[in-house]
């Protein structure tokens, strides 16, 4: 089996594709189907990584191909509008069919964006605008606000902050990056903001066996959050918003309990900070619910929920209060892409028609049970198996072994992803079934035996 690691930066005039990570190669997407990704040599691989968790219902799904064949949809693809000023006639209907049909509890509004980073950047801006108007007590900026903002100075560009968590990942544009603390490679050499960073609970797994210890750890982190909010207010950089992932993904698949998130939501409210749940990776069904925050059991889970990846378009839902007071405060040329919402409406139909969230809960349980078995069988190699739905992970003894296992598993026809320091993350599509779980576990078990 021959894989094409790509590294084609050397030829002048050629595109710079230079990643040489664990699972990189050129793909044949024409022949990829369902859970199977095909490489250029025709090798069929079971895909548990799905383009960094961004393929919701597998490759070349017939429903999506059918949508493409409908001549009524053509113009949506060839005439990309400036959505903020000249939206297509059917856009409100399409958004109602797609995003609004899955709006988080308490949220009535949605703003589409082109990608996850732009979604978070604009969500942050919404929180800053909301916070400043709250500070003013009205929506009329002062003359000083107006003149200073044009030259990047306070009070027009205020010294506000977003509180984030160590291990969190919220994107790599400069606002997002100031809240991202998962890997050095993301942050090194890029100027940043002096914003507070709280510890994310470091729990012991399985969660149900360590409830007391985990509750203590979560209490410690929550206390630190409050301390930081007070401290940053005192140093003149008030916390306008708190951003957190329901499960830290890139940072190593770190979970926290519903109780933690409920209390954190309460702390945000108590201190007048907006609360932003970043569901870019957790949203879209892979935890067994459409949004991971549904596991918290709250009617009012957040002020802002951002999304991208499996929802095919970026964007964020938000509560009425977070609506900017004037048009053009949140704006850019494209503000999303209606062709992606067209696909999303169809994806949601498939999820409902095929009860995919129930399937995810079922195959997720099979996957996690399998990981528990393997970790019992290979205690020197695996530990801390954890997951919700198919959003599962397991730790490997060290990074070098993890990387080797990823390569060997790939050479046996299974695509996985790494995360954190030495974790493996599982991010199959929503059409992943028991059958595929067992296929995977057999191959993975062979690889582990080889590394014992």
């Amino acid at each position: 089996m021959h894989y094409h690691y790509y590294k084609i930066i050397v030829n002048p005039g050629h595109v710079s594709l230079q990643n040489v990570g664990a699972v990189n190669f050129f793909c044949n997407y024409d022949d990829s189907r369902g859970n199977y990704l095909v490489d250029v040599d025709g090798n069929r691989m079971l895909d548990l990584y799905t383009q960094i968790s961004s393929i919701p219902i597998g490759y070349n799904h017939p429903a999506l191909l059918k949508l493409m064949a409908n001549p009524n949809n053509l113009s949506t693809f060839v005439n990309r509008p400036a959505l903020g000023i000249l939206p297509p006639e059917n856009f409100p209907d399409k958004i109602t069919e797609s995003l609004i049909s899955v709006a988080p509890s308490g949220m009535t509004r949605v703003q589409t964006m082109a990608c996850g980073s732009c979604s978070n950047e604009n969500a942050f801006k919404s929180m800053f605008i909301w916070y400043r108007n709250k500070e003013r007590g009205h929506n009329s900026p002062s003359e000083e606000d107006l003149s200073t903002c044009m030259i990047n100075q306070a009070p027009g560009c205020p010294d506000l902050s977003i509180l984030s968590f160590m291990g969190g990942f919220h994107g790599r544009t400069m606002g997002c990056l100031a809240t991202t603390h998962s890997k050095i490679i993301h942050k090194l050499d890029v100027p940043s903001f002096d914003w507070p960073i709280a510890p994310f609970p470091r729990l012991q797994y399985p969660l149900e066996e360590f409830t007391r210890e985990n509750a203590q750890e979560e209490a410690r982190c929550l206390e630190e959050v409050e301390d930081l909010i007070v401290k940053w207010r005192q140093k003149g950089r008030p916390v306008a918003g708190i951003v957190i992932e329901p499960i830290q993904a890139e940072g190593g698949d770190n979970h926290a309990s519903p109780d933690f998130f409920r209390k954190l939501r309460g702390i945000a409210r108590k201190h007048g900070c907006a609360f932003h749940a970043d569901e870019v990776q957790t949203g879209g069904g892979s935890t067994g619910k459409f949004w991971a925050h549904e596991h918290w059991g709250m009617e009012d889970p957040a002020d802002i929920v951002s999304f991208s990846k499996k929802l095919l378009s970026g964007g964020y839902f938000y509560r009425d209060e977070l609506q900017a007071d004037k048009p053009y405060r949140i704006f850019n040329t494209w503000m999303g892409d209606p062709s992606k919402n067209l696909f999303l409406a169809e994806v949601l139909n498939v999820i409902r028609r095929e009860n995919l969230l129930e399937e995810v809960a079922r195959s997720g349980k099979a996957l996690l049970d399998g990981l528990y078995d393997l970790q019992a069988q290979f205690p020197g190699l695996l530990s801390r198996a954890r997951g919700q739905g198919t959003f599962c992970a397991v730790d490997v003894c060290d990074a070098a072994t993890r990387d080797r296992i990823l390569l060997q598993t790939r050479d046996k026809g299974v695509i996985l992803g790494g995360c954190g320091e030495s974790s493996i993350r599982f991010r199959p599509a929503l059409i992943f079934r028991d059958y595929h779980v067992h296929l995977f576990l057999n191959i993975f078990s062979d690889v582990l035996a080889h590394n014992k």
Copy 2:
């Protein structure tokens, strides 16, 4: 004639579309054709704004519809890859056909991104990474770099800056926004960076009649650029890069001479700063050359050229030296969208086959001549007509009159855009011909007579 200004934020559970600017309404993109945009009542309007300058060859171009009908292209639309790790087999070919075929002089590499803001954010990051490695003299960060970057502190997150220009627009994510200084509405209430802002030349038009005065003004601005570079180095925030638009668009269609840009490029080189030409709006042919910087007549016009809009995909070209030293330093989930490159390859074919750059030069001359005539005819209303190709603008006596003229022109079936304080900008597609120029000038002349 009835126009649907959209303001549908009021219904709970409804999408938040709330802009109520001058030319906003819902469009029927199925029936829009070529230079004509159609609204939901079937009103056909000559479009000189083209979705904020982002429709290269008009609506529903047959070549693009044909591309959609080719079954070989289907999978590119329905299987969006994580381009940074698993690119499609034909991606290097498609990029070679599309972006690489229009690579700016001296640039051998390109990185695609989803939108203009992400392009500039990542271009800035490339400049910071390059600058820090240059400061170090090698590519090995210190232990202190590694530990401090995770908590947003120097030296890992260094106090570097990007020098930008008053009136410039480079996007609205937080890194870009720190270099954007065109309108208050973009910047108010968003935290920013203490980065230097130089004056952009405020020239007198027509340029050829004021060469001496304009040269003095440009010399003044260049001197200020050098002063700022020195000053920011002294205060511990060295300028890693200079970013500038070849023509400031959003900020009011402000031009500068080729000589200005050549000297600015020289200043960047002298002080060891990277030079970034932001061609998000100027790129793609509307100045009569594919890139506006080609008018500067340089073999080595810049270190980075960013693009988006008419190129359908965001991204940036860059010189070899700006290549990040490790994979994953410049990275995100999608890193662009191959379906957009598919369209771009076809757009470039049409541009070449139909000699559209020559057409742009021709219709642009007719348009500018017409504006000169009208400004002579209505001296109390119009002034400072200016342009390159069809990338033209004219100033109106005040903002209220400008906005009224935009509305009245729209009611007579022509879409225009505003920019700056009281300018009108013309951004037709590349298929705009003499015939359309005269159609526009007749209507515009009527509206002006009405406002005299």
